[in-house]
Symmetry: C2
Subunit: 80 residues, 2 copies
Amino acid sequence: MEELDLKRQQIFGKHVKRLREEKGLSQDDIAARCRVTKGSLSVIENGNRNFSFTTLLALAKALEVEPKTLLDIDFELFSE
Amino acid sequence: MEELDLKRQQIFGKHVKRLREEKGLSQDDIAARCRVTKGSLSVIENGNRNFSFTTLLALAKALEVEPKTLLDIDFELFSE
């Protein structure tokens, strides 16, 4: 796992956590709404999983946001 | 693999192909720009792979678009 990939997973994880908390939802609430378990969500929010496309869609649905909103953050993709 | 997941992978794949072709890039060009092989890109564009988060970022970089642009399509997520 490249260091940059890990950093971007962490950027994404913090963003998902922030969105979830802004909506007043717990990890249990998300787990109840989709097939992402509480344990998996915790690992994702800590930036320690290279999750799949369908997991991203499941999270977007559970958070009631469009998928692109989950990527509406600066991953510093073009500043390497 | 749920039928809806497959459909959304196909929606994504067509979108990536459209973006690539709009930029006049071949699958070989994309493969040369990032670690996604030509074979993998072809499978993704045909909607037959549940690819990872870091692959999505690699594709965005190779296509010179922000990651959220790759998800700026209607996945009919909330119309089930």
